[in-house]
């Protein structure tokens, strides 16, 4: 198990009460599961009823979008899982 740091956007702070936390996981996918286990109130905000990541939410593993990441990528101490709300426009 690696110690993974999770960073959350400010809009989710009223849900969790915190902006960052640490979870233990052996894979990138496992880090997401650990996050939702630790903060179950986040699930409805990150995923829709079909189990799909909401279209304007992005998950980054260090500097890579999860969409292009092997879910089973091994987690290492110090890896960072970042939850972002997509921003567009000017």
């Amino acid at each position: 198990m690696a110690s993974v740091q999770v960073r959350l956007p400010s809009l989710l702070e009223p849900i969790t009460g915190i902006r960052s936390l640490t979870v233990d996981a052996s894979t990138a996918k496992g880090a997401i599961s650990a996050l939702l286990e630790s903060q179950p109130g986040l699930k409805v905000h990150l995923y829709d009823e079909r189990g799909n990541l909401r279209p304007h939410v992005r998950l980054f593993w260090n500097d890579r979008d999860f969409a292009w990441l092997d879910d089973e990528a091994t987690a290492r101490d110090g890896d960072i899982l970042t939850v972002m709300q997509a921003v567009s426009g000017g």
């Binding site: 989710l12 109130g41 409805v44 905000h45 009823e49 079909r50 189990g51």
Partner: protein
Amino acid sequence: MVIAVGTEKGAWFFDPVERHLDGPVLPGWKVTAFTETAAGDYLLATASNWFGASIHRSANLTGWAQTDESPSWPEGGDRSLTQIWTFARHGGRLYAGVDQAGLFVSDDNGGSWQPVDGINEHRTRAAWQPGFGGLALHSIVIDPDNADHIWIGISAAGVFRSEDGGATWTPANAGVTKTAASEEFDDIGYCVHKIVLDPDDSNRLYRQDHRGVYRSSDGGRSWDHAEDGLPSSFGFPMVIDRSTKTLFIVPLASDERRLPVDGRFRVYRSTNRSGSWEVSGTGQPDVPTYTQVLRGAMDTDDNGAVVYGTTAGSLGLTLDSGDSWETLPWTLPRILAVSSLQV
């Protein structure tokens, strides 16, 4: 009394006596509905352009925490809950109306929610068409003397009535002009915007519809136009002050323009059960005001106070059932919901 104001970017709470405004609560979140529970605490509903919809609870309108459970469609299904549009309460029972259109009920003050299958799986559901604001169950009216009698409004399917506590539902739109006709079902296809129940007669209802203002004297089975004195029959909000039996609406020029007629923002009222309408009292904006009031953004305390919030973020208040109005000094984000709460 406290006036709860839900906006595109958080909630504010206004004390009309102390003239004090608190907020924002949940800044950045859409706040779409409020209610009190039988336990004496408060719920508000949030939505977001990014994240999912949920409910927050407070004991005192200051500290808020997300509830463990909110209304939701089954996981893995083809429906998505995007917004909680409205709450309604009768005794210890709470209802929530949502988009995608559905009705949920809670008998534990919002701790858990169950779908009301009688309407959610209605025989006509496949033909329900979304309105401009989505496919929303936005209005819930419960007979205060008989909790089995419930009316709900869905855009753009129409009004449905239940006489058995929500087990079965019948479309209730005869006499109303259709907006989204269904080839399969002749009794839906109506774009209701808001419904209210007369305080003295539970067979008498009023309806601001896409295609006009209507009243019913037979529990919604049939409807007649009730537009005498109005500059336009199009609009969204409708409330009735139970103390004075006065109805309030805010007409807009047309469904295409959705602006006050000639830039003259006016609340209209009827003191004779929609028999005729007049501009409500004095003190309304005397300069061109091109804004509107959304369907959930007007409420009354049923004791003479009526409050509306506009899409431009302004608030209007009367404490004498529409004889005189004032525009409050604050400008908030686009206002989605206004509720009078007892504290």
